[in-house]
Symmetry: C2
C-alpha cells in the first residue's frame, strides 16, 4: 500500500481540523488500497471484521467529510449507489456496460472544453467529469465463446 498517500491524506485532514479516528483511518486506508471503486456498503462490509460495531452512518458521514476536504471523489453512475474514488492523478473511467468493471483511463484533462464552456455559457467553471462506456475484453470474449 501507499503509506505516503495515506500520511498525506491524514495530514490534510489534520490541517482542516478534522479528527483522526480509527474508523476514519481504516476507511481511508481501504479507499487507497482497494484498486476498485467501492460503494459505501462495500467499505462497511470490508471493515466489519475490524470494527464490528461501526455504524453505516459512520461510513456515510466520513465519506462526506472526505469529499468535502477533496480527498475523494463521488462517482454517480446509473446504478443505485454511489461509488467513491481516492483522488490521485487526473484520470477518467471506462466502464463495462455488461459486467460493470471500471478501468482507469489516463488522459490529459480537457481544459479546452472548460474554457469554451466558460465563453459560451458565462459560468465560472470549476471542473468536469467524463465517463466512457463500452464492453470489456473479457465480456467480449465470453460472448464470442
Amino acid at each position: 500500500m501507499s503509506q505516503t498517500q495515506l500520511n498525506e491524506a491524514l495530514d490534510s485532514l489534520k490541517d482542516t481540523g478534522v479528527r483522526i479516528t480509527p474508523q476514519r483511518h481504516a476507511i481511508l486506508e481501504y479507499l487507497i488500497d482497494s484498486m476498485s471503486h467501492p460503494t459505501a456498503d462495500d467499505i462497511y462490509k470490508a471493515l466489519e471484521g475490524k470494527f464490528p460495531n461501526m455504524s453505516v452512518a459512520t461510513v456515510y458521514n466520513n465519506l462526506r467529510v472526505f469529499r468535502e476536504v477533496g480527498l475523494i471523489k463521488e462517482l454517480t453512475y446509473g446504478d443505485s449507489s454511489s461509488r467513491f474514488d481516492f483522488v490521485t492523478t487526473n484520470h477518467y473511467h471506462v466502464i463495462c456496460q455488461n459486467c460493470g468493471k471500471i478501468v482507469d483511463f489516463h488522459y490529459p484533462g480537457l481544459d479546452e472544453v472548460e474554457h469554451l464552456a466558460t465563453h459560451v455559457t458565462g459560468f465560472k467553471i470549476s471542473h468536469h467529469r467524463m465517463e466512457i462506456y463500452g464492453e470489456c475484453p473479457d465480456c467480449s470474449a465470453k460472448e464470442a465463446h
Copy 2:
C-alpha cells in the same frame, strides 16, 4: 412545440412494437416541450392535472421503455433522483453547483477520446458522457451583490 420531434418519436415507438397510450404520448410531449431536464417526479406532478389517476409507476415504467428505445437519456448526477433528457443532437451539460441550473453546451463529440480509450483499454467503446460544473452567472451576481 416540435410536432416533428414528437411524431418521429411516436413512429419509432410504433416501429419497435411499443403501444401508444395517452400517458406515453403526454410524457413524451412533456419531455420534448420542457426545456428543463425533469425528474420522474417532475413529470408525474406536471401531468397530474391531465391524468389524475396516473400512477408514479407508469412514469417510471415508460421512462425505462423510452430509454431502452433510445428516445431519452437518463442523467445521474449527484443528487437523489435521475433526470431525463430527450435525445436530439449531441450536446453536453453545464451544471451550476449552487442552484442546480443545467445549461446545454453544444460541442463536437469527443471521438478521439473514445478511440484512444479503445486502444488503451481494449474495450469496445459505445459512448461517453461528460458534465461540466461551475457557478452560473445569476449565482455569481447574487454573491457579489
